[in-house]
């Protein structure tokens, strides 16, 4: 063998060995999350699987309280330059700090990117680049009492009529004790945002230069919500509490609440059904909620960023996102997950999942505007005022539009 060949082989071997050695270099990454006790063991399981597959990577999970606490901590950490390697984050948290994130998309294959559910891609894309990837996702669905609602309402009109029919003073004491439906305007303005989307409305126009919430579509959504108000329990507590107390017969809520809602139904002694949200005048869309995963690029080594990207991609694998969904009550975030035998079997044996799964593929996400958190609060107030009868739908929407406009300025 010629010496140059031997040299070349030697060089290749050295390079391979070097790459191997580099790949095997131990690396520790920190992952900030807001998963409480019910979800933590599942997340730990996934991370353990990951570490078993990549023994040179150590993932330190760090619980940071609720979502509000996590956001506050991320903001503080960005200012202090003390960020973790990766964290859970809502879309609007990412917008103001996108420049300190390490985009995950460019390190994914085209197939991997195409596999993410369409409704989740825009909400993870900033400046045309997929910076974050979806993680714990749930969607607004329709919960109902099977004993009182044999067939769930398919349209807004049916929903209103059923709410009317089911509202009753069951003990004849002169006050309503069974409401057709229920809303949590201050805690869950997504109930209104769902109506808004189905009426073809939006909070802002596409380039975020104009408030559109009080246009014709917005008004249709708020007027519809207000028409349900007389037949609705308006509360700030969990809907499961009202469900258990036999105070509401049906409601729109996140699929992540399935466990608690079903438990409430079991305790109250009735069977609960889950259906798609009733179709609106323009479409049948449902709001996807939950956070995404982002990798930071402030003081992390390249090895840490690579390891974090690897973990983010690992969590998108069909069997991993299915595991997370089955155990945690979330929804798979990739298309391939929905056609796996495991997920099909799960759906077949868990009737409620059929509606949720079907809904998921038609979902929409929150807008990426950096002030979305404040916007959500404004909308919640307006929604609450309209539902409590403190303001007429138009008046409530106009007030919200004024405040939203001030935010845009």
């Amino acid at each position: 063998m010629k010496s140059w060949k031997i040299g070349a082989i030697g060089l290749v071997l050295v390079l391979l060995f070097g790459l191997f050695a580099m790949a095997e270099e131990n690396v520790t990454i920190t992952f900030w999350h807001a998963m409480s006790s019910g979800h933590q063991p599942n997340l730990q399981n996934l991370v353990d699987d990951f570490m078993a597959e990549y023994p040179y990577i150590t993932v330190e999970l760090s619980y940071q309280g609720g979502y509000g606490d996590l956001q506050q901590k991320i903001n503080a950490a960005v200012v202090a330059g003390n960020v973790p390697t990766m964290a859970q984050a809502y879309e609007n948290w990412v917008t103001p700090i996108v420049e300190v994130l390490y985009p995950i998309g460019p390190h994914m294959t085209g197939l991997e990117k195409a596999d993410i559910i369409d409704g989740l891609v825009p909400s993870n894309t900033y400046n045309g680049i997929l910076y974050t990837v979806p993680f714990n996702k749930s969607i607004m669905v329709f919960y109902y009492r099977k004993d009182l609602v044999p067939t769930p309402p398919a349209t807004w009109e049916e929903y209103l009529q059923m709410a009317k029919d089911l509202t009753a003073d069951t003990n004849d004491d002169g006050t309503i004790d069974q409401f057709g439906t229920g809303f949590r305007p201050s805690a869950n303005p997504e109930q209104f945002l769902n109506f808004l989307e189905e009426a073809g409305g939006s909070i802002l126009n596409e380039d975020w230069t104009e408030v559109t919430i009080n246009n014709e579509a917005g008004l249709a959504a708020m007027e519809y919500a207000a028409s349900l108000a007389p037949y609705s329990l308006i509360t700030s507590a969990y809907m499961s509490d009202a469900f258990q107390a036999n105070q509401v017969c049906m409601f729109i809520d996140t699929s992540a609440g399935y466990y608690y809602n079903n438990k409430a139904a079991e305790t109250a002694g009735f069977e609960m059904g889950v259906a798609r949200v009733p179709v609106g005048p323009v479409n049948q869309k449902s709001m996807i909620q939950g956070t995404n995963l982002g990798v930071f690029d402030m003081n992390q080594t390249q090895a840490q960023k690579d390891a974090a990207v690897l973990l983010a991609r690992f969590l998108l694998l069909a069997n991993k996102t299915v595991f997370w969904a089955e155990k945690g009550g979330y929804q798979p975030v990739t298309k391939s997950a929905y056609v796996t035998e495991e997920w099909k079997n799960w759906v077949a044996t868990h009737e409620y999942q059929q509606a949720i799964s079907a809904q998921m593929l038609d979902g929409f996400s929150q807008i990426l505007h950096p002030n979305y958190g404040d916007m959500r609060d404004i909308i919640a107030t307006s929604f609450e005022e309209a539902m409590m009868g403190e303001a007429a739908p138009k008046e409530a929407l106009d007030a919200a539009a004024g405040e939203l406009g001030a935010l845009l300025e």
């Binding site: 920190t30 900030w32 409480s36 006790s37 019910g38 979800h39 933590q40 330190e60 760090s62 619980y63 940071q64 309280g65 609720g66 979502y67 606490d69 506050q72 901590k73 903001n75 503080a76 950490a77 200012v79 202090a80 330059g81 003390n82 973790p84 969990y238 499961s240 509490d241 258990q244 107390a245 036999n246 996140t254 992540a256 609440g257 466990y259 608690y260 438990k263 409430a264 079991e266 305790t267």
Partner: protein, 283 residues
């Protein structure tokens, strides 16, 4: 006869007054204790009993296992140690610094005393949340992040404590200082041997308020620490709640465990605490 009727009338009025008083006290006591009662009984309920309507006050089957489950959700042993360590360290530290500062503001003359005190009082007007991010940056730059220093050092002094003790120290007659000085007593000895013993109720109040504050501190601990080994009980309690629901029975079990040390402390210091509150006029 008339005077006897008068005496009987007074007795009756006194008894009625007492009866009403005791009734009101009992009602107030019941209102105060009800949440505690609910917390304790809920900690023994099965999940389905917690929000049952009408409420079931006494559990049907007592679920002692809730305590085991709650304890195993997180390293609560470590959290308890950290809570104790933080609360005791900050309490001791704050008592020492506030005594010294309050004495200076109450009994010593120095340039700018009133202005400095006014500035210090002014800092009470700044909401803690506003300072959270600057404090986070400071703690990080000092290299104290996720360490006991972050949990303890910033809380070793308290403007409120200084204000409270200063008010109390001012009520101690200056003649005592004069007399002690004639007897050759140094200022430091006067402080520790005369002022401090006389101010025991106020100092106990400062200590108890600090202990409670540190024991219940949540946001600061959450923001300034990352690892389980540095976390405290209030952070652990959030693990039982999520956006969509709460494991009330486990949360209540953990809460019962969390308040036991505070109750014990209050049990031993309630006399001084009430005296301190009464004498310093805190409401």
């Amino acid at each position: 006869m008339n005077s006897r009727y008068l005496v009987d009338g007074n007795l009756l009025r006194q008894r009625t007054y007492r009866l009403v008083l005791y009734f009101l006290l009992f009602a107030g006591c019941a209102i105060m204790l009800l949440p505690f009662f609910w917390m304790v009984t809920t900690s023994f309920k099965v999940e389905s009993e917690v929000l049952r309507m009408p409420p079931r006050w006494i559990p049907k089957n007592w679920q002692w296992i809730n305590y085991i489950k709650a304890w195993n959700v997180a390293p609560f042993g470590r959290y308890f140690f950290n809570s104790f360590f933080m609360a005791i360290s900050t309490t001791i530290g704050e008592v020492i610094t506030t005594i010294l500062a309050a004495y200076a503001f109450a009994k010593m003359r120095f340039f700018g005393k009133t202005t400095i005190f006014a500035v210090l009082l002014g800092t009470l007007m700044i909401p803690g949340q506003m300072l959270l991010i600057p404090n986070y940056v400071t703690i990080t730059r000092l290299g104290w992040f996720d360490r006991y220093e972050a949990l303890i050092v910033p809380w070793l002094a308290s403007v409120f404590g200084i204000f409270l003790l200063r008010q109390f120290f001012r009520s101690i007659p200056d003649e005592l200082r004069e007399a002690s000085r004639i007897d050759g007593c140094s200022r430091f000895r006067f402080l520790w041997q005369i002022v401090v013993p006389l101010s025991k109720p106020a100092i106990m109040t400062v200590a108890l308020l600090k202990f409670l504050g540190s024991w219940n501190a949540f946001l600061w601990v959450l923001i300034m620490t990352n690892s389980d080994k540095m976390r405290t009980i209030p952070v652990g309690l959030t693990l039982f709640s999520s956006e969509v629901g709460t494991a009330y029975e486990q949360l209540m079990a953990a809460s019962v465990l969390a308040i036991i040390p505070v109750l014990i402390l209050f049990f031993f210091t309630q006399k001084q605490f009430i005296q301190g509150v009464a004498r310093t006029g805190i409401k």
